[in-house]
Each structure stands twice: as structure tokens, then as C-alpha cells.
Symmetry: C2
Subunit: 363 residues, 2 copies
């Protein structure tokens, strides 16, 4: 790889979500990607930024985010430049975010290649991840391809979308046959048996030129809307333009808007350990447990007859548990929540309820 | 009652304990009597001081306490004078505290009458309490008597000591036959059946002269030890004297040292609602509960399928509980404790364990 080649590598980091399944640790004012949800000493966003910096020049990493998180990002990545942070006037789904990022990058470097990645996921084998991205960049440079990394499933997880690829052609670059929604357990088990299904991790690689062209082909309205800003990208006029037009963009995902429509979609199956850290249980899966199966995050635990709990506190609190098993116990400065692990999908609703009763700022 | 008569009324408020059954809300640095354990807007100490002030001139209320609580007392009762706070150099049981208080008061006013009362109990009908104290003062002035208030038991509580009185003589002033330790349930039920047993609330009334004489008779060694300080009471030399001699005093209770030995012990059975607030459950008994039997102290509760819990937080925290019943949930800035109500007697040991593991200052 030459220095020049690397200069063409760009990233779009998606960092606008709230992560409300991790409430009250994660909240609109302090979302999942910007907190140290694993208790490892850095936030998911910091880890993700650092990981991508291994391959991509740090100044080429763009962060698509909500405007209220700009200061938080500067605090967490002190050397980041203002121009790398792209605040969306209002939260939209992934398609408009990615188009916005791509158009800005295209203006800077029309020969660029982009990896799009969420900023709140967990990856264990970072070197394998880097190799996969490098390989994907090479394939994307070689030809007009929309490439995604597909995680080799380790279980029939019903919390992930699956990508089906053509098992008869290409290796490692597989032609995608179909994107699927989160399946039921039976269906997921069948997917694993068939062998040519991988998890959709929301990691995409393409040349800037081709993703822009794909928007023009598959989401022409959105493309036209953004085309109006062509003279403003990366200039101070950009902000006013976005304020006026961004919210008019259709609120759809890149999967639905582009990936499911294009004929040039490929997947590279990868086998590194990955998690979207979608729930407290999935966080627990990636962290050590004590001999009773309890996981303490930012907490000091004292347990008696207490098994398989997940405990997270705001400030290294001492947590004494007796006779309590399979609970999620989360404390922050305003809220203490104790719910069974089996009800972790209800945390979003609980958050809504508390916000309604006690104030929006609590969510 | 004449003004002069009231000037002879004094109180000794016992305020040196730690209340470790309420850990982590109560701790050595901030004990039960000095916190708003009921969440009513004032501390038990403030409530007790205020209650006694209704009958006893505020400047005649002496507070026997640990030296580390002096500042806390001044903060909670701003108009209290330094001379009313008697810091013990080291925590002892009730007998030496009471003798010390009595000797100081005797020096000020040899015709005084004293009520000794704990500062961390709960009394509902304050007027009835005052009437009982007034009546006891009258009996104590009339003759050499050691008088105690005995609470008419509302249940065969095994957490209290009982006082047996002679049912054939005197009303309302009953001659005490025997002080008993905390009984087992069967025994307590028998006590209630027999009808002449009342709870020992640790509230004593006597003339200063007679309690001092009783110490001389029944605890002559302790009396001799304190006699050495006779020239120093209420003077600045008192402090040095106590530093040297106080810890030499036998560490015994007034019940054991005096009340069980004297022939002049009487009880006035009273029927006001009283609790020693000895455990979280007994605190819950005196507080409102929601429709599911949950009691929130200094907390805002959101519950689903959660019954009969007691919740106390440090700062009006929102507490979300799901699928959790009969627990004690206590949070302070350093510690969160979740234990079944049935294990509330173990909180003392849990406190010891945490102090050993994480530092004495946490207890």
C-alpha cells in the first residue's frame, strides 16, 4: 500500500443514535456511543475512532452525528477538526446521512474510498477487521461494487438482520442474494444450517463515486434534493443549506434505499468476534463475569446468593446484592433501574414512561 | 405548672449511636438520628429535640453524644449552646453517659428533674407523650422514684425488651417487678396474654438527686470515678478530666446497672404509638405505602409487578423496579444495597464486610 493510496481512504462514522436500550446509563444527552458502557476506560466512540485510525488517516474520518453531540465528540477526540464533524439538523435514518457524508467527501477527493461504520459496536480481533476493510477497499477500487462485511454467525441470533449470499461464486467476495429482516428462531436456525447467511453489521465499503452514482440511480429524489447543495459542501454555507433541506430527505435506511435495490452488492464474510452491543445481555457476553456469573461495570460488587446479574453504576459505586439473580441493575445520578434480564427489551418503554412522568431530560 | 417548676425540668438526649442497621443510609459519619430516615423533612434528632422543647426549656436539654457529631448537632439545632452538648471521648453504654449528664445537671440545679430519652425513636401522639412525661415528673418530684415509660404492646414484638409490673398495685404508676431481655415469640405472646408487660422504650424520668444517689448505691465504682470530677463539671477542665477518666467507666447499660437492681423502679404504661425504628421494616410500618405496599423514602418510584419493597435513596432518585418484591433497596452516594427484607438483621454484618473490603469510612 502506498502513502498516496492511503490518502484516498475515508470513513463515515455513524454517531447520531441514542441507544435507549441502555437507559439510564445511555440517554439522549449522553448516548451509548459516547459512554464507557463496557467499563474499559474509553467510550465506544473513542474505541471505534482509534480502530479506524489504524488504516484511515485520522483527518479523513468524518463523524455524522446530531448537532447536540458536537462538543462531546471534540472532548473525546481532542485532535478532531471541526470539518470532520457533520452535525445533522435533525436525526434521520442512514440513507440521507451517508449521502451527505459521501457528497462532502467526493468534493474533497473524487477518487476516495469510504468505509461506513457504526460507532457503538464491539469488535474483538481488530487486526482481522483491518484486513477485511483493506481487502474491501481493494475490491471497491477495482470495480463498481457496494460491499458489506458479513459476520459469520456464531449462534442463531434473532436480534440481527442476515445477508444471504450466492454460495457458488466468488471467494472471499460473495455476491449478495438478499438482505433479510431479523428472523424468528426457527428461521435463524435454518439460516445457520444453510451456511450462506451472515449477520449484517452495518459496515459498508465503496468508492465515493459509485455510492453517489447509486443514490442517483436508486434514490433519485434524495439525490436531487442534495444536488442543490453542490456548491456549498465543506463551506460555511453548508449549515444553512442543511437546516433548510436536510429534513426534507426521506427517512429511510441505506439497506432499504440502496442495498436491497442495487445489483452490485457484495459481502465479504468475516469471522472476527463482533457484537452490536444491542442490549445489556449482549454487553455482558463480551465482559468478564465473577464465579456466580455477575458482571460489574464501573462498580464494585459484594454478592451473596446472587447470580447472573449485570450491574452498572455511574461512579464505581459499591453494590451489595443478596438473593437476587438474573437482573439488570443500572444506576446513574438521577435514576436507579432494577429489571429482570428477561425484560431487557422493555427498557425503551420504561424510559418513555419515566420521561413522560418526570421530564424529557431524564431520557 | 409554674414557671419556676418548669425551670427544674431537664433532659438528657442520647445521641451517640451509629444505627448500623440502616447502613448505608446511616453510617458512623452520619448516623441514623442525624438523617431524615423517614423522608419527612427533618432528622429524628430534630424531631426529638423539638418534641422535648414543648415541655422542657430548650436550654435545659443536654445532648450526650460522640465528639465527632458536635458540629452536626449545631447545624441541626442552630440555637443550641455549646454547654448543652456533652461529647463523650469514647462511646460507652448508657450508664456512664447518664451519670455524666446527671452530675453536670446536678451541679447546675440540684432540684432538677430529668427525662432521659433516645434521639432516634418515633412517637406519633406527641401530646400523650408530653402528658406522660409531665405526670412522671410529678411522681419523681413527689418521692424517690426511678420511673420509666412502658409502651402498651400492640403485638408480640420480639425486637423489644419487656417490663413486667405488679398488676395489683398503683395506677398509673406501677411498681416494676422485672426487666426482661428480648423474648422469643412464644414468650412474647404469653407476655401479651398476661397483660402486665410493656415495652421498654428507654425513656426514664427521675430527680437528679435520686439518680445520682442510685448510682452511688448500685454502681459505687463508677460513682467514685466520676466523683473525682466534681470540681470540673461545666468548666473548661471537664474535657481533660473526661479524656483521662471517662473510658475507665464500666461499659454497662442503665437497665443492667441501675434499673434491675433498685427497689424504687416504677413504670407508667402508656398507649401512644411508638417505635424504636430499629430496622427498615419498622420504619416502613410508620410510613405510607403505595397500592402495592411499596414505601419510597426520598425517592420517586416507578413500579411494575413489584410489591412490599422499601426504597430509600440519597437524593430523590427515580427508582424503577420490575418483578421485585419484599426487598430493601438503599442507595447513598457510595453504596447501593439490595437485600431481601427477611435478611434485614444481616445488614450490620454486610456493613462490616464492606468496611473491611473497601474502607472504614464507608461504614
Amino acid at each position: 500500500m502506498t502513502g498516496t493510496k492511503k490518502d484516498n481512504y475515508y470513513a463515515i462514522l455513524m454517531a447520531g443514535g441514542v441507544g435507549s436500550r441502555f437507559w439510564p446509563s445511555s440517554k439522549a444527552s449522553n448516548p451509548k456511543q459516547f459512554i464507557d458502557i463496557l467499563g474499559v476506560g474509553e467510550t465506544l466512540f473513542q474505541t471505534t475512532f482509534k480502530r479506524l485510525s489504524g488504516l484511515i488517516p485520522a483527518e479523513n474520518i468524518y463523524v455524522l452525528t446530531n448537532k447536540k453531540y458536537v462538543d462531546m465528540i471534540k472532548e473525546q477526540i481532542p485532535h478532531i477538526k471541526d470539518e470532520q464533524i457533520v452535525p445533522e439538523p435533525e436525526m434521520r435514518n442512514t440513507a440521507p446521512s451517508i449521502l451527505l457524508g459521501a457528497l462532502k467527501i467526493y468534493k474533497k477527493n473524487p477518487n476516495s474510498l469510504i468505509v461506513v461504520a457504526p460507532s457503538d459496536h464491539w469488535i474483538k480481533e481488530e487486526a482481522d477487521f483491518m484486513d477485511a476493510i483493506q481487502s474491501a477497499f481493494d475490491y471497491a477500487e477495482e470495480d463498481d461494487r457496494l460491499i458489506t462485511l458479513g459476520i459469520q454467525p456464531s449462534s442463531p441470533n434473532t436480534g440481527y438482520g442476515y445477508i444471504k449470499y450466492d454460495k457458488d461464486a466468488g471467494e472471499p467476495l460473495r455476491k449478495v442474494e438478499r438482505f433479510t429482516e431479523k428472523p424468528g428462531l426457527k428461521k435463524a436456525e435454518k439460516f445457520l444450517e444453510e451456511g450462506n447467511y451472515v449477520w449484517n453489521a452495518g459496515i459498508f465499503i465503496w468508492s465515493t463515486k459509485f455510492i453517489v452514482a447509486s443514490f442517483k440511480e436508486h434514490l433519485p429524489e434524495m439525490y436531487s434534493l442534495f444536488e442543490k447543495g453542490d456548491e456549498m459542501w465543506n463551506k460555511k454555507e453548508e449549515k444553512a443549506f442543511l437546516e433548510e433541506y436536510y429534513t426534507q430527505a426521506a427517512n429511510i435506511s441505506i439497506d432499504y434505499g440502496i442495498m436491497e435495490k442495487s445489483d452490485s452488492v457484495f459481502v465479504i464474510p468475516v469471522s472476527f468476534s463482533w457484537s452490536d452491543l444491542g442490549t445489556w445481555s449482549s454487553v455482558q457476553n463480551e465482559l468478564p463475569q465473577d464465579e456466580n456469573g455477575n458482571t460489574a461495570i464501573n462498580s464494585r460488587l459484594v454478592v451473596q446468593q446472587a447470580d447472573n446479574n449485570i450491574i452498572s453504576t455511574s461512579n464505581k459505586k459499591i453494590v451489595v446484592l443478596k438473593g437476587l439473580s438474573d437482573y439488570i441493575i443500572v444506576e446513574d445520578k438521577d435514576v436507579l433501574m432494577i429489571v429482570p434480564k428477561s425484560d431487557e427489551q422493555e427498557i425503551k418503554e420504561i424510559r418513555e414512561k419515566v420521561m413522560k412522568e418526570f421530564g424529557e431530560d431524564l431520557g
